[in-house]
């Protein structure tokens, strides 16, 4: 079975359309979405309507949560004063633009999804705001996968796709129960993987192309897909809808609009 995993659409309808066409051409059997349907881009309602219409199982991203709950993340979300200003502008615009039914849909999204030995989250199993970066400490990375009980953990949030295999993992546990009982246990973890799906609507890999992944359970292979689309249409819509012009320039360059991980081990304190 072929499973397509998409993430971080960020209200970029043109990119979503192109990716859905590519998924169709790849004959994927099912699609999962890792959230961040809205934020920064010009078409939040259209993107949500498309996801709803296709009945794509979707978990809630940090932007989806922010639009529902309001901006209440700690200062970790933004790497600079400038990024915070721009993030707030995008949030305020999105907050005004979305329809009540869009907000309702975002509010009811689950934080994680499971399908057989696959788990789907936006940031990490612990928090939508946590970044699972490819250089993250082995032990911490393994813990994040083990916490789900799955063999493959699909995540997004960083906007840079990658596949990380965690094999040969050995864990030692020591439990002390006062006053005298101490138990030691050692066990080996089977092969686990973290797969980051990249971003459909806001790539950060230096090109404007959308990215997503396909997992083939028969061959046990993960394929990273990069899809060209007419990003100039999205740039024009950004300007037309009154979003900051710099968003269009950054999208065309394949740069993040504002957010990126400063401290990958930091977990947002809400």
């Amino acid at each position: 079975m072929k499973t397509a995993v998409i993430s971080c659409i960020h209200a970029n309808y043109e990119a979503l359309n192109a990716v859905l066409s590519d998924i169709d051409a790849q004959h994927a059997d099912q699609i999962y979405c890792l959230g961040d349907l809205v934020g920064y881009g010009p078409h939040p309602n259209a993107v949500v309507e498309m996801i709803q219409a296709l009945d794509i199982p979707t978990c809630q991203g940090c932007w989806d949560e922010d639009v529902v709950e309001g901006l209440n993340a700690c200062e970790c979300s933004y790497p600079s004063v400038l990024a915070e200003h721009r993030g707030r502008q995008a949030h305020e615009w999105t907050n005004k633009a979305i329809h009540p039914e869009t907000r309702e849909f975002l509010a009811q999204l689950p934080l994680s999804l499971r399908h057989e030995n696959l788990c789907f989250v936006h940031g990490s199993p612990h928090n939508q705001h946590e970044y699972l970066l490819p250089e993250m400490d082995d032990f911490v990375a393994l813990e994040r996968v083990l916490a789900t009980g799955a063999d493959i953990l699909f995540c997004g949030h960083t906007h840079v796709p990658y596949v990380r295999s965690l094999d040969g993992g050995q864990l030692q546990i020591k439990v002390t129960l006062p006053p005298t009982v101490t138990a030691h246990k050692t066990f080996s973890a089977p092969l686990k993987r973290i797969v980051n799906a990249g971003s459909v609507g806001e790539p950060r890999h230096g090109r404007p192309n959308a990215t997503y992944v396909i997992y083939d359970s028969e061959s046990d292979r993960v394929t990273l897909r990069e899809v060209e689309y007419d990003y100039q249409k999205t740039c024009a819509a950004i300007l037309e809808k009154g979003l900051p012009a710099i968003f269009a320039w950054r999208l065309a360059q394949g740069l993040e609009f504002a957010e990126r991980a400063e401290d990958p081990s930091h977990i947002c304190e809400r």
């Binding site: 600079s80 004063v81 400038l82 990024a83 300007l239 710099i246 269009a248 320039w249 950054r250």
Partner: protein, 144 residues
């Protein structure tokens, strides 16, 4: 977003922007983003840009950009040269030494540059917050 490509040797078409930033304090990550955007065409075609900026940690940096240095013959010279100026660091209140920006180029987006600079500089509350942290670090280093 400008699409026309003016002749870079036609000085009649060129524009110059000056901005005095004395008293303003910028955070380093914001300056990095702004300078990247400025020198990569986000606000028009910049030929030369020189700026003196006071960072939140008190350092004063001079950034000097010249576009189009031929990379094959001068590849050891980066397009932007960054120099830390030998001034006493300002870690309390607003600095009174000069800081500012001068840009020469074509089709420059004056409003966009101004907006990004404004969004990159710290307001009084944020400045006091960060400077208090820096003061604590300095005190801790002295005690060690």
């Amino acid at each position: 977003m400008n699409t026309s490509t003016p002749n870079p040797v036609n000085f009649a078409q060129s524009q110059t922007i000056h901005s005095i930033l004395t008293g303003q304090v910028i955070d380093g990550a914001s300056l990095e983003t702004f300078w990247y955007e400025l020198t990569h065409g986000a606000y028009g075609q910049v030929q030369k840009a020189k700026g003196v900026f006071t960072l939140v940690d008190g350092r004063v940096l001079q950034l000097d950009f010249v576009a189009g240095l031929p990379k094959d013959s001068l590849e050891t010279i980066p397009e932007t040269i960054t120099t830390e100026l030998p001034l006493p660091p300002c870690t309390k209140g607003r600095p009174d030494h000069f800081s500012g920006l001068e840009i020469i180029g074509f089709n420059l987006d004056r409003a966009g540059i101004a907006q990004t600079l404004e969004d990159s500089c710290l307001d009084d509350q944020a400045l006091a917050y960060y400077q208090a942290q820096i003061q604590e670090q300095i005190q801790a280093q002295i005690q060690q």
